[in-house]
């Protein structure tokens, strides 16, 4: 009997302690209502001091007998300042009287000024913090402050962080930008030859209401200082260059007249690296499968030549996007946010170790050849026939 009690007791203890992690009791001895459940965090730098704004769940809301929430907002906004991010958060703790819980954080937003000057320190805090999840997405505010994003008027009684998280996730699915979670940011940062590229976000006003808008990507130098931005098209080109395209829309035209759009179904970029010359050469072969979504003057007849014209037009458009993106990263910013160096390491480690110490000089000079093979897969629900 004692045997059973002890063995099952030990098992129950282990499972019980494990499941404690589901709850706010991660902070032992703390009631849920005493916790500051952070939903999103915005970090700015003003006068060389950190300013942190957080959206937290309003877990002190009063409820009616039937479980409906009465009055009050679903979330609250707090902000604080300090010499470090940690100090700024301490000020928020003082104001709210609650202990922070980062485990439910949905997004980390960094203001432009902070991205220009203090990103390394901010990333250290985020990575070092015990219960920040490595999958939290990170974004940079284009031309603005993080607090404007966290406090944006995006609707009545909504959780802004939830909308923010959805916008960041969806923008990746339609290939306007590539998600950067904390762990991705860390990997880019730690790789010797790679520079950071993080989605750029801003708010746009429409009828007094604000909306979140992903506006390309922010490019950083090797010292994690903001170098500049890629626009939407260049960000999409970056997606093709990095083999990170999921879905999305590509618009083009046939012979400069007939405009059309296609939906991306599948995309794969294969890298061929030639290390025989003085510097490595990259050939990128993109295989793209698309469905026709719209043609502006409604064509109903498709022969093989016409389909080929569409495919060629899409191919040219993608090549243009990729080349623009390459030009910006290679010639303008001179930062390897495409992970070309990392790919070289995987392809030929001897060549990598020959170039890695002077990669910043070599990367802008690397010849890159792009080939795009487009297959039009479907024409939509409209039937196709030859007259």
């Amino acid at each position: 009997m004692l045997k059973k009690i002890l063995i099952y007791g030990a098992a129950a203890l282990a499972v019980g302690i494990g499941f404690l992690q589901f709850t706010g009791t991660q902070k032992l001895g703390t009631e849920l209502s005493e916790l500051m459940i952070i939903q999103s965090m915005g970090i700015d730098v003003e006068d060389d001091r950190y300013s942190v704004t957080v959206e937290i769940l309003n877990n002190e809301q009063t409820g009616s007998a039937n479980g409906e929430v009465q009055s009050e907002e679903k979330t609250k906004i707090y902000s604080g300042n300090g010499e470090t991010v940690s100090e700024a958060l301490s000020e928020i703790i003082k104001k709210s009287g609650n202990r922070p819980l980062y485990a439910h954080n949905r997004a980390i937003i960094i203001g432009e000024e902070a991205a220009k000057t203090k990103l390394t320190g901010i990333l250290d805090f985020i990575e070092r913090d015990y219960n920040t999840r490595a999958t939290v997405p990170v974004a940079i505010v284009k031309g603005g402050k993080a607090t404007d994003i966290i406090t944006a008027d995006v609707g009545m009684n909504v959780i802004r962080a939830q909308i923010l998280e959805n916008v960041l996730e969806e923008s990746e699915k339609v290939s306007y930008s590539q998600r950067m979670r904390i762990l991705d940011v860390a990997n880019y940062k730690y790789e010797q030859t790679t520079s950071l590229v993080i989605p750029a976000i801003k708010t746009v006003k429409n009828n007094e209401k604000e909306f979140y808008y992903i506006d390309g990507s922010a490019v950083f130098d090797k010292n994690n200082k903001l170098s500049g931005y890629l626009n939407e098209q260049q960000s999409m080109g970056l997606g093709f260059l990095k083999n990170k395209i999921q879905n999305g829309v590509i618009g083009s035209d046939i012979d400069g007249k007939q405009k059309f759009s296609v939906l991306i179904v599948k995309s794969k970029t294969e890298y061929v690296i030639n290390t025989d010359g003085d510097i490595p050469e990259y050939t990128l072969n993109v295989k793209l499968s698309v469905d026709l979504d719209e043609i502006d003057n409604g064509a109903y007849s498709f022969d093989e030549k016409y389909i080929e014209k569409i495919e060629n037009a899409v191919s040219e458009e993608v090549v243009k996007m990729m080349n623009r993106s390459l030009y910006e990263t290679q010639k303008v910013y001179r930062q390897d946010c495409l992970r070309f160096g990392r790919r070289l390491l995987l392809y030929d480690k001897n060549a990598y170790f020959k170039y890695n110490d002077k990669w910043e000089e070599i990367f802008p000079e690397i010849p890159v050849y792009v080939n795009v093979d487009v297959q039009l897969r479907r024409l939509g629900e409209i039937s196709f026939f030859k007259k």
């Binding site: 063995i7 007791g9 203890l13 494990g18 992690q21 015990y130 490595a134 762990l183 990997n187 995987l346």
Partner: protein, 367 residues
């Protein structure tokens, strides 16, 4: 000798859980990168390394029916007591390392900014009570625990597979020859329990060699899967995580359910309880060999006090945890327990067989 005999599967289940504690609560050694594909190769080479270093263990368990302490005592009772003391020392140190590592894990990943000393001491007391039940009871429980732990680990593996990124991998053989060998050895030191079957040979029913080989292969396979998941999911980020195995459990998700680390934590605590209890039992066995008349409750009680005291001392400062990552402090016990002591046991068996044959030959000649 204990009258209750256990099966080799039960013993290997306990040993398997003990190794998993090291794998899950992996702390990287100085200069070793877990995010390198070399670590995957090390985990596969583990089969060869362990099979080679454990040849004396294989020989001993297949040629002798009694425990190594009993074998030594037939030749020299005094020497066997020295060996028993050595086992007590090594496994007490091993247990202190386990408890300290668990303390670091609990206060870093589970309940940060909280002094968990009392919680750890409570776990130690539970383990001391469990050790009173004997190795056979622990063996039975460990089979169930192993199934739970393997299930939880596979769940983490499958939920992380969609997050694998080919750019997280590195080309093989990035480190040079000496470092590669050093890192392979450092991975193999996690299987220090490989030397335990010689200690318990007298209490195990039937043959052990085949299941010992199965144990070596399953440990290697488990390490391979865990490291593959770490590299595929985390990449270089893994090198900057104090517990990379825990970090991967926070990444995978099933639909809306994202807190899979809760399952993993529960599974790990089961492993830790099994390992601490197992090491306490080994120490108790040796103490009882040294002092046959001693009360069975004394050894677990003393071990629990030593472990509790060590937690109180070590927990206060991160500098005191440095011994957890010192390669030599893990490698030396591995060689002693897995190779040196079983080899000495094998030589004794061989010598006694030769002497027996000589005696028989001279008796026959005299006759």
């Amino acid at each position: 000798m204990n009258s209750v005999k256990m099966t080799s599967t039960q013993l290997y289940s306990v040993m398997y859980l003990s190794v998993l504690v090291g794998v899950f609560m992996y702390l990287s050694h100085e200069g070793m990168s877990i995010s390198s594909v070399d670590t995957l190769i090390h985990s596969l080479l583990l089969i060869v390394i362990n099979a080679v270093f454990a040849i004396p263990v294989f020989y001993y368990v297949s040629h002798c029916d009694s425990g190594i302490l009993e074998t030594f005592s037939l030749v020299s009772p005094a020497f066997s007591k020295v060996i028993a003391s050595l086992y007590i020392f090594l496994f007490t140190i091993g247990n202190i390392r386990t408890v300290a590592r668990f303390d670091l894990f609990v206060t870093s990943e589970m309940f940060e900014q909280t002094d968990m000393t009392l919680f750890i001491i409570a776990i130690i007391i539970i383990c001391a009570l469990l050790s009173l039940l004997g190795i056979e009871a622990l063996g039975r429980g460990s089979i169930i625990f192993s199934v739970i732990v393997v299930g939880a680990s596979l769940l983490i593996f499958f939920t992380n597979m969609q997050e694998f990124d080919s750019l997280n991998f590195t080309p093989p053989f990035l480190s040079d020859g000496i470092d590669f060998l050093k890192d392979t050895m450092s991975i193999s030191t996690y299987t220090v329990v490989l030397g335990v079957p010689v200690l318990y040979r007298g209490e195990i029913k039937g043959k052990m060699s085949k299941s010992l080989l199965m144990f070596i292969c399953s440990v290697s396979l488990t390490m391979f899967i865990v490291i593959l998941t770490i590299i595929g999911t985390l990449g270089t980020f893994a090198d900057y995580q104090i517990f990379p195995s825990f970090a991967i459990s926070t990444i995978g998700k099933i639909s809306l359910f994202e807190r899979l680390e809760a399952f993993e934590t529960a599974a790990w605590i089961l492993c830790v309880i099994s390992k601490i209890t197992f090491f306490m039992l080994i120490v108790s066995k040796c103490v009882e060999f040294l002092f046959p008349k001693i009360n069975k409750k004394v050894s677990p009680a003393v071990t629990a006090i030593i472990l509790s005291a060590s937690v109180i001392i070590i927990s206060g400062s991160i500098k005191r945890f440095s011994f957890l990552t010192s390669l030599w402090q893990i490698a030396v016990p591995y060689f002693i327990v897995v190779t040196v002591l079983p080899l000495a046991g094998c030589l004794l068996i061989k010598k006694s067989k030769i002497n027996k044959r000589k005696r028989e030959f001279s008796e026959a000649e005299n006759a």
